[in-house]
Symmetry: C2
Subunit: 703 residues, 2 copies
């Protein structure tokens, strides 16, 4: 009844844009024909004043100080304390989110045995003539905390290896260390050079880590690790070491390396120790006190299946609750993890505090739903985020606009660093132009970034050099590679002209503490604040803009760049093998054409006045663009890597990963079947790009 | 500027529903505040008057008569003529679509050699003492058309096999025929019993077909078969016969079978021939004129890569052009194909003629985009539709609401038959209630259908028995199984109480002609019209309704039915092997809860008056529900089957296919690793159902 009446009534109505209509109503507040509420709501765009206000807020030091400053390795009591802390914060009645809860997975972890510590000794027969430290040296109470986990290589198997020249034909055990040359700019003395005197790693510091090549729970690939989930046999796990491994400090490494005999190691293997690094073929030097000794490695690591929690929080969207912007940071550390991950947690907590307060006071609610994830067991292989992605794969694939990852928020306090899907470059630039660097009212994060790292874009000229997310270095992996959700990873980092350190020196050691952060990484916590302002700005734009602030032409530029590298490196050889690159060139061209055309549509559209379905249509095209590059069969041997543009790559040629790796393999082997695989990968990436271009064309064109 | 003004202006506006607003305007046509056009457009629901008008239209006989009535096997000159005919019709300025075009793929086909016909002979030494017919007997000019392809088994390899007792340990060649018992209700004489006297198959009739277990182009699995696409080696094709095969008529089969010696074949193997069917172990009978003879099979089939065309047509949507309803029918036949596929083509052409006319005269345009596909090379393995799905996988996955397949539209003129994703049951019922059966003003297609085939639903009571799309019998396969698009397959069919024929008897023979259809299948073409009215009704509802006419509670019922069969057949055994079915039960329960909750939301929503984003949100949930059941890794050995509920199944237990097949295998082998696979498939289907349930929950709940 209503419908028929409606159609009849509408037939005679005249044609006006809502812009005109609203102008009319703004003049006639007492008119008898007010607009329905939803017409107003859907026309609300991002509020620049609110963003300015957001940028002006923030107190990250407080966040870090309040955050439980205890060792909180995944699934330990310390981890549980942080779970409860997150829940308390996100459920706070004045500054919390709409809802927060925990989600547990039963995951496969690996720990040292507290009763039987791993050890490395130098033995002559049954005599122990030397041994490495079991613990890192204590300079403050933190290092003496009984909850500090002994240095170990997670997922390295238990086992005993003895020898030094015992295995000429096969390695039977591995000791891992980082040379002071690579981490400490050569500094080695804790009397005045290293922590607690500087940010450098003390001689006894040992980097912990997960020794596995894939991510997610290893017993339940492609399935969420629930109680009754099917698990593969432990012996079927791939990508882990078959032999024992133990990380050691450089002090202990020096003790061993400088005594080694044998031929001289290559120049690039030499480090900062005051000795020649030899390969050790025949064992220790005849002149050494370790002469005729073996090195004995005893590893007692144990695998355990344990409950690990993600803490989830949400602010519901008003106009498009079924569109999600996800912001995440892991919660677990190896030891205290003041930098990794608490520097990121502090940023997330400050962002949620400010937004939560606005929601609780009724001054703001985002257009889209914002989801916050405090991931568990990241250090063991991005497990919490990967299990979340596996459990909610359908819902997340259908609805997620973007994923923002801030893991370590401040590696160092020199400049912003961002890696992302190219579609997000523009919104990161916009945000970074709006935020000023610490201590300046004039220099933007953008300009400072461009000074530290830049490139010349064919479209934009000189711009900051944004990286791609080609690996699985943090929790963006499951979102970017498995789900094809446009992701970004944001942090503050080094001035590369001032240090060679491959990462901040106390990474994954017992020296990554509040004391360390507040004295050496970011005194005053102003870089933390800068990251919060930048990432929060990106979050607000993604959450509130009527049109998503995504630029597909920047994606076209990245594809063109990859194409030109591929042509330069591979075309001649492919041609020799009867394989044409023309279809790939055509595909990239069609992508550029489609991107240009969509951006013309966008710039000529008045999405505020038009039907909200128009903006939704364009937004769906932008939201789903990265999804179009997924191919679940492209990389059968790489768990979770489905994105044919950004999957991990072995080849050093910075181009399409499947193609690059296949050509390099075929080039090496010369085998016909390997060239055939190169052709296959060429077709896969070509059709993925064509398919993505199809999704960018107007809805009614070229169906 | 405008935006800020806008927000300010809106702040003071009062809250009214658009229903009230429209009522207001309907009374005051001269008001100074008319509604913007889009507000009217988005509130237009399906027009029942238009559907009534549509049902009253139609002239299918004309469509069939006009349709080129020549042999049009894929890629032949006859096929090209039908391509041109389709284009002419869909590009007609008065009755055509908005646009129509062809899309070609280079596909791998298989044909007999015109110069060296396949033959089957009975030989004694070098003497030929008998041979089968090379061609079907001509009763009319059609059978004598030189374009009639000789009977053959597509993709059966070329080869020569001789023997009858020559291969006790292995079959070396296969002759295929259909017994008159199974196809002709026992009728065998063309003097008065079979065509041209009835619909039964003449003795020389031979069913052609494709002998391959997978679908889509066989050289380019998962890739669209373009010119430069990577192709696998022919020898790597799986699912085809390694030995020669030849189909023969029952006349020739009788000549051989009734002469066979050996032990008696099982009762179920006996047929209508007036002899005992023996297994033939020792060869022909001693009393036979074929005594001591061999059967010689010479097959000269050749594989060829040829260009095959889809013809595509479109009517653009007005409000949601980025939502597609696809309607398809294949175009290629084996011979004249008056039933298969022209009965379906006639229905599609009549639907597009009526809709095209409405569009051209400006009286109607659908809310969503309607895409029509005239698929090529279906008979060789659903190739045209599969290549289309592979090429446009991203765009189609993101935007397609449903796929309607009408292949053979009339098998027989007794009753409607439909198979579909359960979500589409309701809209098919709605349409079939509105259409009357041929020759009646009172009996609905629905009631007639229920008389012929019904079941008792826990929710609905007695209803027509709609089937599921568990196989790859027609072009719905790529949509349903590969893309997870809710699909349906609609036709008119037999009164099963009146015939045992497994399909209409002249299927894939040279007797499937206009003469046959007009005299035996559907005199008056009224059943064709009934199918057009029903399928067209479904199409209009899917294309025009504000809310998609999909019911997820019907999906819940199907899952519950599959669950109860699984529990009954597998639970005890699984438990014995330490595998719990509780998580699956929980998942199905959570799906039911979510479906109920979504349908409550739907029934309490005034989507006409609300923001169009609300309907869009619900529609996206409904549209993407089948997508949530896709798992590209669940069935690695079955090309294109990704839907974990409806994938093809070997087990006779009508339940979840991966689970059913794995349990049956484990039950047979008793091997631990096979039970492990059963557990894996249990987890896969459990998590798919849970994941689907998540997508049905309110956008903001349980993220």
């Amino acid at each position: 009844m209503l419908k028929k009446l409606l159609l009849f009534a509408l037939a005679g109505a005249a044609l006006f844009t809502i812009g005109i209509l609203i102008g009319h109503f703004s003049d006639q507040k007492n008119s008898s024909s007010p607009l329905p509420e939803w017409v107003q709501e859907v026309a609300q765009d991002v509020d620049e004043n609110l963003i300015e206000k957001f940028i002006a807020s923030g107190g990250q030091r407080k966040q870090i100080e309040e955050n439980p400053s205890i060792p909180h390795m995944a699934t330990t009591a310390g981890d549980e304390a942080t779970v409860e802390y997150m829940l308390k914060r996100w459920q706070d009645r004045d500054t919390g989110l709409d809802a927060a809860w925990r989600e547990d997975y039963r995951v496969y972890l690996s720990f040292p045995d507290k009763d039987k510590p791993n050890n490395v000794t130098v033995v002559r027969g049954s005599d122990v003539v030397g041994s490495i430290r079991e613990k890192e040296k204590a300079y403050r109470a933190e290092q003496d905390d009984p909850e500090v986990v002994q240095p170990y290589a997670a997922y390295g198997p238990a086992g005993h290896a003895k020898g030094i020249n015992a295995a000429p034909f096969g390695v039977i055990g591995v000791l891992v260390y980082t040379d002071p040359y690579d981490i400490n700019d050569g500094k080695m003395s804790d009397e005045n050079e290293t922590y607690p005197h500087s940010w450098y790693l003390p001689p006894s510091g040992v980097e912990r880590g997960s020794y596995s090549t894939s991510f997610g729970d290893q017993l339940t690939p492609y399935l969420a690790a629930k109680n009754d989930t099917y698990r593969i046999d432990e012996e079927d796990i791939t990508g882990v070491s078959p032999i024992p491994i133990q990380p050691i400090g450089f002090e202990d490494a020096q003790m061993l390396i400088c005594e080694l005999d044998g031929s001289e190691a290559p120049e690039t293997w030499q480090g900062s120790f005051p000795c020649k690094y030899n390969l050790g073929g025949p064992g220790f030097k005849n002149t050494s006190h370790f002469k005729d000794c073996d090195v004995q490695l005893d590893v007692y690591n144990k695998a355990e299946i344990k409950d690990s929690a993600n803490v989830m929080g949400v602010i519901w969207g008003s106009v498009e609750p079924d569109r999600y912007v996800i912001y995440g940071n892991h919660r677990d550390s190896w030891v205290h993890g003041a930098v990794d991950p608490s520097s990121g947690t502090a940023v997330m907590l400050e962002i949620t505090r400010i937004l939560g307060q606005m929601v609780k006071t009724g001054t703001w609610r985002p257009r889209r739903t914002l989801i916050f994830g405090s991931w568990g067991a990241e250090e063991f292989g991005l497990i919490g985020s990967a299990e979340y992605a596996e459990e909610y794969i359908s819902k997340l694939s259908q609805r997620t606009v973007a994923y923002i990852n801030v893991d370590i928020s401040v590696f160092a306090n020199a400049t912003l660093r961002a890696s992302a899907s190219p579609i997000a470059q523009d919104v990161i630039f916009t945000a970074s132009k709006q935020v000023k660097i610490p201590g300046s009212d004039t220099v933007s994060v953008y300009n400072n970034w461009m000074q530290h790292s830049n490139r010349t874009s064919p479209t934009h000229g000189l711009i900051p050099n944004m990286g791609y997310l080609t690996g699985a270095g943090s929790d963006y992996a499951a979102f970017m590679h498995y789900l094809g959700i446009s992701s970004m990873d944001i942090a503050y980092t080094y001035d590369r002209s001032k240090t060679r350190a491959r990462i901040y020196p106390t990474y994954h050691t017992a020296y990554d503490t509040f004391d360390y952060v507040s004295r050496f990484i970011d005194p005053g916590f102003t870089s933390h604040q800068t990251v919060a302002r930048t990432a929060g700005n990106v979050l607000l734009r993604l959450g509130d803009s009527i049109l998503l602030p995504f630029k597909c032409s920047d994606y076209a530029e990245s594809l063109e760049q990859y194409l030109s590298v591929a042509v330069e490196n591979f075309e001649a050889e492919l041609k020799t093998n009867g394989i044409s690159m023309e279809p790939l060139k055509e595909a990239v061209k069609s992508f550029r054409t489609a991107a240009t055309s969509l951006e013309q549509t966008i710039s000529s559209s008045d999405v505020v006045s038009n039907s909200p379905l128009k903006a939704r249509r364009i937004n769906d095209q932008l939201m789903l663009l990265d999804r179009a590059f997924l191919n679940p069969l492209a990389f059968p041997d790489k768990y979770g890597f489905r994105h044919v543009i950004w999957a991990s790559r072995s080849s050093s040629v910075a181009s399409f990963p499947g193609l690059a790796d296949a050509v390099v393999k075929a080039r090496t082997s010369g085998l016909k079947q390997d060239w055939s695989q190169a052709h296959k990968h060429l077709s896969i990436v070509t059709q993925a790009i064509s398919g993505a271009a199809h999704t960018l064309t107007e809805a009614h064109a070229a169906l």
